[in-house]
Symmetry: C3
Subunit: 139 residues, 3 copies
């Protein structure tokens, strides 16, 4: 049984979903692990990880609209306002979504379903350089 | 340290919670692992995993009602409508709930609390055959 | 590769966030694991785990308000009422938040970002003694 650690940098442009599964698969292939467990960990409280449909981009649009509605930029609702109107909604979205994902590895690949893609969900308006830790364990 | 992988098939009938902890426990017992980590991974973006109260069935009713209300079948809200009125709400529920769960194994059993059960939450109206990957690691 | 298991007891006073990262770090230091994977598991369906901002306490206030609003104590909404007005909202919050977290270990420490703290989110009004299982795997 072996372990590997890697730090992935993801540049975001604005609020929204960024596909990161391709970069993860590339790194995974180099590790030569056939069976194992991959943990994906986002080092931020205003961005999240999400496994979602990778086919129709309208799904991403509707997801973004949903989270915009459930945690709106509306400073009257929040006590925490010092970091801009998009900061507290970002923390709420991060609580509702995932900071970390565990994905089994089978035959050297993530055991995702056909329609599952892996995304980083940026919750801030401004571009950010996000850090995602990959931890791999297996044979 | 050993690993084991298994693919569980769960037949759903309609929207709602299906208990899957019993099937997982049965498989776990055969693996002869005393201490370890179990990862449960749902290979779909319109069904979720959930650890919830296993006692009063009213809790499941109220959970189903809550998710029906927060992400209703209302085509006016969504751009993605090609797969039926229940598809986009299913993706939103999948974002709010879990695609994967990690459960420590102690004394050969999942270290669940007394009132915790493990459920697959079907978000589509029609019956589906769902795939759940089990990954086990331990001694 | 080694494993370690530990049961952490957390006393809560009322609804709200309790910092537990300090206790976890203390235990982690004693295990002498440099690279690995830590799983944190909450054995309850009316309390959750959450990674959130550890700086401005106003963030915690706003998070508490958000979850009070999205799943209010309003007995007219719920069928499950036998365990008090705060019980069904507690189960809904537990479904929206996390029961378990997986955190990579690098250089003997949790690979958290600068602003990330680990919290137990108590969803019941009354004080509770909560059990959190720690599972560690690594070298």
């Amino acid at each position: 049984m072996r372990q590997a650690l890697h730090l992935l940098h993801i540049q975001t442009k604005a609020k929204g979903l960024v596909e990161i599964g391709g970069k993860i698969s590339l790194w995974l292939r180099e590790q030569n692990i056939s069976t194992g467990l991959l943990t994906i960990f986002c080092r931020h409280t205003s961005a999240s990880l999400l496994i979602q449909e990778n086919a129709d981009p309208d799904v991403r649009t509707d997801l973004e609209t949903f989270f915009e509605t459930i945690a709106p930029e509306d400073s009257k609702r929040y006590v925490h306002r010092t970091e801009g109107p998009d900061d507290m909604p970002a923390h709420i979205r991060a609580a509702l979504l995932q900071t970390q994902l565990a994905v089994p590895i089978a035959l050297g690949r993530m055991a995702l379903g056909t329609w599952q893609g892996i995304y980083l969900f940026e919750h801030r308006r401004a571009p950010h350089r996000r850090e995602v830790v990959l931890h791999l364990l297996g044979d």
